[in-house]
Symmetry: D2
Subunit: 146 residues, 4 copies
Amino acid sequence: MPAPAMTADEIAALLRAEFPQVFHPGCGLSIEHVGYGEVRVRRSFRDNHLRPGGTISGPAMMELADFAMYVAVFSVIGPQPRAVTATLTINFLRRPAAGDLVAEAKVMKTGKRLIAGQVTLFPPGADEPVAHVTSIYSVPNDNAQI
Amino acid sequence: MPAPAMTADEIAALLRAEFPQVFHPGCGLSIEHVGYGEVRVRRSFRDNHLRPGGTISGPAMMELADFAMYVAVFSVIGPQPRAVTATLTINFLRRPAAGDLVAEAKVMKTGKRLIAGQVTLFPPGADEPVAHVTSIYSVPNDNAQI
Amino acid sequence: MPAPAMTADEIAALLRAEFPQVFHPGCGLSIEHVGYGEVRVRRSFRDNHLRPGGTISGPAMMELADFAMYVAVFSVIGPQPRAVTATLTINFLRRPAAGDLVAEAKVMKTGKRLIAGQVTLFPPGADEPVAHVTSIYSVPNDNAQI
Amino acid sequence: MPAPAMTADEIAALLRAEFPQVFHPGCGLSIEHVGYGEVRVRRSFRDNHLRPGGTISGPAMMELADFAMYVAVFSVIGPQPRAVTATLTINFLRRPAAGDLVAEAKVMKTGKRLIAGQVTLFPPGADEPVAHVTSIYSVPNDNAQI
């Protein structure tokens, strides 16, 4: 397993510089671990993620999974902030209770322009995932998304 | 084509009551049209949806698509706020410029517990979609998401 | 709408030459219509597509949808037999009875290397689809699939 | 980990009885391992799976993945031959060379009516997968597929 192309601190610094709207102090997102193609990120609980019945909203989980893949992409190809999601499939498995969520992303294939991975979401310490995601990121040379 | 199970105004009132964190004055989401299994919703542009390069973020598009499906579910089965997304697949096709986005959802199948649909996202007036989504919603009788 | 890059007859001749195992007299597949990015193909019924309950098997439907996308790819970029499926998502909507199936594919985006489309499957003359597919094809310059 | 609801031999016998068109001597499919929600199946190489360039066709891989999920469903809920695929997403990662393929399926969630899992496909002994699948099976009480 090679070393990651960027450390957690380097990725956090890049995101703060490039995505101040998304990744800023108080945003609730944090990067817990970065290995080569294997990362773990976390979202702190916020009330506006709740849905009726006290569960966390689907879009909040999709956003966290997409963030995890984004960090995983940096871990294999280095600073490429214009990498974009080409496709994402999420299966919601269980309703998470109100609380933090952790996402573990694993790169399955690093191609020249496309990077495929999967992400598992679960409450910290839980045995069973609340959602599973597969996604392909595109590292563009041009304006086309795919 | 039967009449929708709820009108746009009825759905908006339900969402304001059940999702005040998400659907409130100033949230930027609006319901433009509701037919039976065919709806159109819109998200006003907000700066925090931007990604490097001036494009709208993937999660903002996923959230809008999921909202469109949620409204479409109400249009066929009436007030069921605990309906939840079981699965969602998005293909990002073109990078939208900064601006409003419209989502048109169309129900493909209404089963007893599961409702399948597709959503097309595009800037108002554009000929070509920026993203395409298929999704299955679950109308639960229990705590299980699927 | 431009003219298709290849006609139905040209695509059939290419497939007979390149895929004699798949596309041969008696294979049951036929190309009914080819427009630019919009094609219709058909599979004749065969007993070995049946599943318990008399319905057509999922893999037979996936194969037909993939074939439809393959033909649609030729209709926009011409003879590229090494184009390959990068990703495919199918939602099964209704159980088809024993009989022929038609697949209509529509290209949603033609990029330099990736082509995204959707496919609807239904029995000839039916109003409602039995399955819906989205897929991305890759037009490779190298050995990587994505 | 509980014991599987059916053994590999029991599942093979059920499939021979219910799917003689698909699972018969000489079909090339075999069940190598069955644990509770974790199974491994194999497809022997056949010439008609080839595509230009000597790679195995996408539909042959989708069929194998779907078969693996089907066996995994039996391993958790026992003999339910009318269980059907509700949705399937495949990401093709690498082009397999001509040869056998193995599929390992793992159930992620067993609900009352829906079972979600993932499948990894690879050549026997390979380190890296050639494709990854997520799928939801429906255990129907009625004629609706979803």
